[in-house]
Structure formats: C-alpha cells, structure tokens
C-alpha cells in the first residue's frame, strides 16, 4: 500500500541501508523517514473494569517510568471514576468520545462525565490534530473474547504498523494479530486517535474485574517492546517494511432476540465460542438457541472477532466479522535533520 501517512509524507533516500532481499516481489519501496518520537503516552483504565492496563500503569507510576532514552513517557489513568467503581463507564463509553465533533462540542456541568473527561484527556495528550499532541499513544484494553494479543490501529499509521510487526516477531507466548480499523482520523472516536500516531493493545480472554498474571505478563512485554522499538527508532535504526496480515472489520452480528422484549434468545454456539479469527464459512454454526436449535452463518466466509465480548451485548454485537487483508508497507527510519 502507498505510504499515506498522517504527518510528513516526504520520502527520503535510504542512506547506506542494505536491502537483504526481504522485501516482497511486489514493490521496492523507499524508506520513509519521520521525526523522532519525543512524547509517548500510555493510557489504561479507559474502561474502568479492564484490570491489566490499570495495574500496569500503577506499576509504571510506582517505578517512576518517565523517560526511556530520548522519549518522555506519560502514564494516564483515563477514567478514574469508572476505575474506582470497577465499571466500564459511569455515564457513557469514554472510548467513543474522541471524534473531532465531540471534542469541539462545549461541555457543561450537566454533560456526561466521560465527555468532560474526554476534554480533559484531549488537553493532556492532545489536542487532537495539533502540533502539541503527543507523538504516540498506546491505550491498554482487555476483552472477554479469546483474542490473544491484538494491536488495533489504522493501517495508514506507519508507526503503529511497524510496532505491530516488531511485537509480532518477538512475542511467542500468545498469538499476535492486527485489527485494521480503517477509520478516518476525524471520525475515529477512540482515545488512541488523539496522538499523532496511536494504537491500542487488546488482550484476552480476561473477565471484567479480574487480573490474570498471564495476561498482565503479555501486556507488560508488549509495552516494554514498544518502548524498546521507540528507542531504537529514535537512535537511527531502520526497520524493514514488508507485508502484514491484518483483519479489517466488515460488519457486526447481533444475537437473535425476541422481537417484543428484545431479550436474547440464543447464546454463541459452542463451536464458535473461543474461536476468534478462525475462518467462518456459510453453514457453520454461530448460535445455539435456548430451545436447542442451531443458527448457521449465512453470507461470506469471514473471520469472527470479539466473540462474546461482555461489553458488546449492549452494543448489539455478538461478534464482528472481519476480512483478512495483506498490507504492504515501506521501511521506516528517523529523520536525522529534525531537531527536537
């Protein structure tokens, strides 16, 4: 894919970098050079009952992790009231509050808590779209779905794509996959869209309100690798481009419901449960009704994700169907003449 980037699309010639023949047969792409990353924000507790990010951030704060090489690190507990209550949110989902429109709408005392908080966060790590925004945001999430480690980003974000590639090459304890939101920045409602570059880590399965050591260890490793990557990038390492498999959400599928009461009438079928990312073909079972009947998938063969995510019952989503797409992307290196 073309190097369509959020900022600075100037391509620079490679400087003494030897291609090792690792590029695909499709294109030889120039190395893209970008300014160093000097401000990195790690956010957790955007949903107050997703425990890993909350405890990882507290751990980083306790150890005063504020700098790594030339990058300054800000840790932010995004939704303190929801964290205290151990709930996803107080009034409204914080991670849907960061579109340009919502951030520009004036808030009052009677505005939902999370809209007020979104404005505060925009001042801390943004403002979104401005030069003052942090260079990179990483937002930490958990899911009740069996998704291993997912890196969620827009594939036009070259930083996020390279960080994903780096992490995928290093973490072997769980599957590592990319979900490509393809959301244009202004419509992107999530906290990680406030920085110049950004992505989220989604690790599961973990119940709300539970802290699993194995999930914590994976998230910590992913964050440590991100910091390591930034330091290497800033110090001049060139990271080879190439190809990456990503999963692009296409549509969501709701539970079968009673038309009068709206109550769900079936559960995710045992053959679909916990099989996130495995291909789902027409005719495969997707729901089992409480009366014991099987509902089958109709329509294109796609990849289901977020299967039986707790927070999505109210969003009328039993799972999301995604298309597997291979993206091709260029090498990346730091722009050397950029003073920081």
């Amino acid at each position: 894919m073309s190097a369509c980037l959020k900022f600075d699309t100037k391509k620079a010639k490679e400087e003494g970098h030897q291609e090792e023949g690792s590029l695909t047969k499709t294109t030889k792409m120039d190395c893209v050079s970008l300014p160093p990353l000097s401000k990195f924000a790690i956010c957790g507790g955007t949903h107050g009952n997703e425990m890993t990010g909350i405890h990882l951030l507290r751990h980083l704060q306790k150890h005063k992790v504020e700098k790594a090489g030339s990058v300054s690190i800000t840790t932010v507990l995004s939704n303190p009231r929801a964290i205290d209550a151990c709930k996803r949110y107080i009034d409204t989902d914080l991670n849907r509050c960061f579109t340009h429109t919502l951030l520009r709408t004036p808030i009052t005392d009677s505005s939902p808590y999370e809209l007020q908080r979104a404005h505060e966060l925009n001042a801390i790590v943004g403002p979104k779209g401005s030069e003052e925004a942090v260079d990179l945001i990483c937002d930490l999430h958990n899911t009740t779905a069996n998704m291993g480690l997912c890196v969620i980003f827009n594939s036009t974000d070259l930083m996020a794509l390279h960080i994903y590639k780096y992490i995928k090459s290093k973490i072997t304890s769980v599957p590592v996959r990319a979900i490509d939101t393809r959301e244009p920045i202004s419509e992107n409602y999530s906290l990680d869209s406030v920085g110049k570059y950004g992505f989220s880590f989604e690790v599961g399965p973990q119940p709300n309100g539970v802290l699993r050591a194995d999930v914590f260890n994976v998230m910590k490793e992913a964050v440590d690798l991100t910091i390591e990557w930034i330091q290497q990038f800033n110090s001049g390492v060139t990271f080879d481009g190439g190809e990456a498999e990503t999963y692009c959400p296409v549509n969501k599928v709701d539970y079968p419901r009673d038309p009068t009461t709206n109550e769900i009438t079936a559960a995710i079928h045992p053959e679909l449960q916990d099989n996130d990312f495995k291909p789902l073909q027409p005719g495969d079972p997707i729901f089992q009704s409480f009366a014991g009947e099987t509902v089958k998938h109709e329509g294109k063969g796609l990849h289901p994700v977020f299967i039986n995510e707790c927070a999505y019952y109210e969003k009328r989503t039993a799972f999301i169907l995604a298309e597997k797409i291979t993206v091709t992307f260029p090498s990346i290196c730091v722009k050397k003449d950029c003073g920081v």
Binding site: P207, L211, I268, N308
Partner: protein
C-alpha cells in the same frame, strides 16, 4: 427428620424453588430462571411444586452483582428481623421479602429445597455447595447428581466453617443447595456453562421426584471439599494489591497445592510461595467479586462423608 431402622426420614420435598439473579451479572441463572418463569414445563415434576424466581431484579436490570449490598450475605437474623422501612438497603428489603415468600427461615413453613444458581470467574467447573454435613437429604441428592452426570464431573464444596459460612438467600429453605458453575465472565453467557447448569438441575429435580415417590436411597459415601480458610492477595500499607494469582495456580481449582508451590506473582515478576505445612485444595481462585472481600482463593481439604440411608417420612 427422624430415624427408623437406620433410615433417616425426611418429609416429602413438595415445595422447591430455583433462584436466579441473586447476583445480577451471573448470567446462566438469570437466563434459565427467565426461561422457566415464561414456560416452566422443563422444571415440573409430578409430586413437586417448583417455582423459578429472580431474587435481585434491580441488579439483573443493571447487570451488576448488587445495588447496595450483596444479597447473598444479607439473610442474617439481624437483617431479617429489622423493622421494615425504605431507608433499609435495597437487598435487605429484598431479603425480608424473600424470607416472607419462601421462609420464614428456620420455620416449618419454609420451602423444602432452594437451588440458588451462580456463576464464577474461577475455573471451578460444576460445583454444588453444601452448608451442613448433617443434611443427609442434600448429601444423597448430591451423590445422585454426581452419578447421573458421570463421567462429567460435579464436585461438592462444604462450607460449614463458622468464620467462612455466610447468610445466603438459599439458607431460607430447609435444604439449601448452591450451584456454582464456571469459568464464566460476569455479564457473559456461555452456552456450555448454561447447558451444564441446566442438566444438573434436571437430575436434581429427578432425585426429588424419586424421593417423593417413596424410593429409598441406601447409605453412600460422598467426597466433599471442606472449606478451611480464605487467603487474601498480598497488599501494601494502603490496601492495594501488590501481586496476582501466580500463573501456575491460576485455573488450578481443586488441584493439590503443596507447601513451596507458587502462589502469587508480583508485578515485577517475583514468585511468592505457599508457606503452609500441608497440602490443600484451593478453590474460588481469582473470583472477580472477591477482590473486595479480600479473598484470592479459599483452601479446602478433601473428606469423605457418609450419607445415611434416607426415605420419605
């Protein structure tokens, strides 16, 4: 209850209740009871009046464990005898209401059996919770269920310890039975967990029907796990947890925990080991609702109880 010819006689179990939604975010019970309130055919038996009942409707509506206070700790003598009033916590008012309908607790008018349906985030599989080792009716029922679902497993947790025992909603009945099935996240409905709970209830009701028809159940041995003590997370001076259930212990419900085995892992990656002097069998490992109750897991010891022969009086 009386003894005759080495049989322990119990009155016919005519009135049976199935409680769901005692914790409003434990979805198997909520879903099953809602189904059965609409159409109770599946839970009917000839000699039994079975009533399916949502105990905490406000919590169910909000998909939260409780609104003011844990309903499943609210059936204390103090609460049940407190003067009625709207300044009482919601769940205390509910407890009084439930005690009126299904009790009074401790009286001859109380329901014969109450099954209280729960889920846990712990990897406990199917667990039946027994509140008294002397309830031979319940012991025989649990033996019947275990045999009926074999080779699938259903374990019995005996919670009779004076410090660990609590005033459950089911304690209103003469024969309280807790059903705990996991692992399932709060707010999530897993098909396999739902069906497992359904099957256990089917066998339980079959047992009651057989008993009421006059079947004698000979003496039997029932393996139980007797609750010993609760173990909290390591915490700092401010009460914040400083370590997590160790990956080796996580999901190891009912497996032996030996002295020296890993117990917790700090956020730095250090291991804290079990310092006890003998092997125990931990359960309720990493239950979401127990962080606030200062409980990382409960230790148990394996015992075999002898259930007397029973028959209808």
């Amino acid at each position: 209850m009386s003894s005759y010819n080495n049989n322990t006689c119990y009155d016919e179990a005519r009135r049976v209740a199935i409680f769901g939604g005692t914790h409003g975010n434990e979805m198997s019970g909520v879903t099953l009871v809602n189904l059965w309130v609409k159409n109770g055919t599946e839970i009917q038996r000839k000699s039994v009046e079975t009533k399916a009942f949502i105990t905490n409707p406000k919590a169910v509506e909000k998909c939260t464990r409780y609104v003011d206070t844990d309903l499943n700790r609210a059936f204390t003598p103090e609460n049940l005898s407190a003067p009625e009033g709207h300044d009482l916590p919601y769940e205390v008012r509910r407890a009084q209401e439930i005690n009126r309908i299904f009790g009074p607790k401790g009286s001859p008018d109380a329901y014969d059996v109450i099954f209280d349906l729960h889920n846990t985030t712990s990897n406990m599989g199917c667990t039946l919770i027994l509140e008294s080792s002397k309830d031979h009716f319940n012991l025989q029922m649990m033996n019947y269920i275990k045999k009926a679902i074999a080779p699938a497993s259903c374990l019995v947790l005996l919670n009779e310890h004076p410090l660990l025992k609590y005033s459950t909603s089911r304690s209103v009945a003469k024969h309280p039975v807790g059903l705990e099935v996991g692992p399932q996240p709060q707010g999530v409905l897993r098909s396999n967990i739902f069906e497992a709970m359904r099957v256990i209830l089917k066998h339980a009701l079959d047992f009651i029907q057989l008993f009421n028809e006059g079947m004698e159940f000979p003496p039997c041995m029932v393996e139980v796990f007797r609750a010993l003590e609760r173990v909290d997370y390591p915490r700092d001076a401010n009460g914040n947890i400083i370590a997590m259930v160790h990956p080796n212990l996580q999901d190891g419900d009912w497996e032996p925990l030996n002295p020296g085995d890993p117990l917790f892992q700090t956020f730095d990656g250090k291991t804290i080991h079990y310092q006890g002097s003998s092997t125990v069998y931990p359960t309720f490992i990493n239950e979401a609702a127990y962080y606030e109750k200062q409980q990382a897991f409960v230790t148990t010891r394996r015992e075999t109880l002898v259930a007397s022969a029973i028959r209808k009086a």
